[in-house]
Symmetry: C2
Subunit: 346 residues, 2 copies
Amino acid sequence: MSPTLQDIADVLKLSKSTVSRALSGDPRVAESTRVRVSSLAQHMGYRPNATARALATRRTNTIGLVVPWAPRSLSDPFYLEFLGAAGDAAMRSGYSLFLSAPDGDGAGAVRAHAELADPRRIDGMILTEPKANDERIALLHGIGLPFVVLGVASDPEVSWISGDNTAGAFDAVDHLISLGHTRIACITGPPDQTASKARFEGYRSAMSGAGLPIDRNTIEAGDFTQPGGHTAMRAIIDSGRAPSAVFVCNDVMAFGAMRALREAGLAIPADVSVVGFDGIAMAEYVDPPLATVNQPIQELGRMAVQILIEQMSGEGGPAHCVLPVQYRPSNSVGPPRTRAEAINRG
Amino acid sequence: MSPTLQDIADVLKLSKSTVSRALSGDPRVAESTRVRVSSLAQHMGYRPNATARALATRRTNTIGLVVPWAPRSLSDPFYLEFLGAAGDAAMRSGYSLFLSAPDGDGAGAVRAHAELADPRRIDGMILTEPKANDERIALLHGIGLPFVVLGVASDPEVSWISGDNTAGAFDAVDHLISLGHTRIACITGPPDQTASKARFEGYRSAMSGAGLPIDRNTIEAGDFTQPGGHTAMRAIIDSGRAPSAVFVCNDVMAFGAMRALREAGLAIPADVSVVGFDGIAMAEYVDPPLATVNQPIQELGRMAVQILIEQMSGEGGPAHCVLPVQYRPSNSVGPPRTRAEAINRG
DNA sequence: GTGAAAGCGCTAACAG
DNA sequence: CTGTTAGCGCTTTCAC
């Protein structure tokens, strides 16, 4: 058994109250005893029992995080990176991360959140992939547990942090337009997610800002997975005249789309330019390297934890934080064929 | 405040012990009272306080998991998938996952393990990426905390689970040999990790089994990251005559290697065939699709939890479990150029 | 400055 | 079958 407060108290002939105070830096305890206590504690290898402390203080120093499982099957590197950054930040602030990975449908996810969202188990929670009217948000509000959302939440009372989806999408599409593309397809995320909507809005506004029409046949909803991107791209190709460029709402779907294009015998970017979103490491390593919108993933993780800690301390109102993103061109985009040929002809 | 056992007991004019027993399915309690108790509990929305229970039972129903951070930066989808599967399995068995993501060097990782490995905080632990003489294993043994390793541990007292690294590597390299390759490079993982050694051993034995020499200039150590794979491939290319095939010890390094080959103007597989290891989803979506060794990632996660639960129950000795892997050919491999040309001339 | 005592919510002997 | 009694290890009034 590892030593307890009482063990230390016994040796020093003190009460455990005093030992507790000495260790927690209570100013009322004499400097001399503080020194004696802490050096003995060190010597005995004392480590406070987090469970007992949690029971007494009603604070667990633990943050809950539910990562999306279905249908992404957790294969999106974006989440692993986010998770790592959040975990690291939490640990630095003395918090631990409690992880839940619900399987299956929306109901399963909500249930997982409900199970995890026990104020006696965690002090706060990080939510990902918010939907338009997310039941989970209502649930947490009802419970009264502090939380922060990775992604934009409509309720102004809710704290959230997000990359600038609309601006990033705008920049990406605007670049395509500036290269001369006029027929630009879009593969969106699940329609009910706020990130999907925001990125589509960036696409829409860039298109209409340039006076370009949006052909519904070139808009296809994906599910943020590779197979989803593949299927969506295939549908766009099959729907008739292929676009000269496609804006895909996340990187892993873009990989699927690139594959579909190759299978259809279309070259990237000669026939079709492709742009993704997220800026995961893998994007630089596909062929051709994928143009994408870099999200500050590490920063998102760190800030999410920081905002949550503020929320948990109870001070200040809800925080809404939009982090800038950076469009990063690459060889997956080029001028449309007609234009390219014109240039070649000089 | 959510209701406690005492609240239920008060309403029913029972003692909290009885209520506790009724809820935990103790056979001694009368069927009638059990019904009354559980229906009231349900009605009042009673949820046991995990913290209090943990303090009383000295069991936390929590599993600790440290994911490797540096230098992989958590960008390897293999770990996210493993994490998800383990989390899911844990939850189904009534356990929660406690996550730690140490930053930086080996010392930081060991410290993170030491912090997490508190028997009063978690009941057991899953370790990843074991090294040959891993201090963390000694540490956990010293603490007496049950744990299971993802990867092979040399100490027979330690439970572990692993894909069949050597056989998988052998099959992959053997396939290359059967296509006529004789000069096959190898990019290994960090030399101190057991998985690196085992995969290299598969490579070595396939080569020597076919009577092929191993050229040290074509063996390069990577670090399981994309940039690492890129650098290693570059070094092999620069070292002199390029090999006609390369076996890369994980998929993300293979992506880096493919990029290095392209940058050097070498075609895949016409000039150089590439095989990876792990079977992450992304492998199917690069161009050309990467031949790789499929690990049963989901199964590894599930089994790791299952073995750990057995260890924690104290019954049975250490378990050592090797799961079969499956080599999956794809378009990133083909016959060597000379042979291909010979066939063409046919 | 320090100690005594109560209690966080639950489980686990030990009685009856 | 059920109640009583002790804790699990820590924090936190309230006294002195």
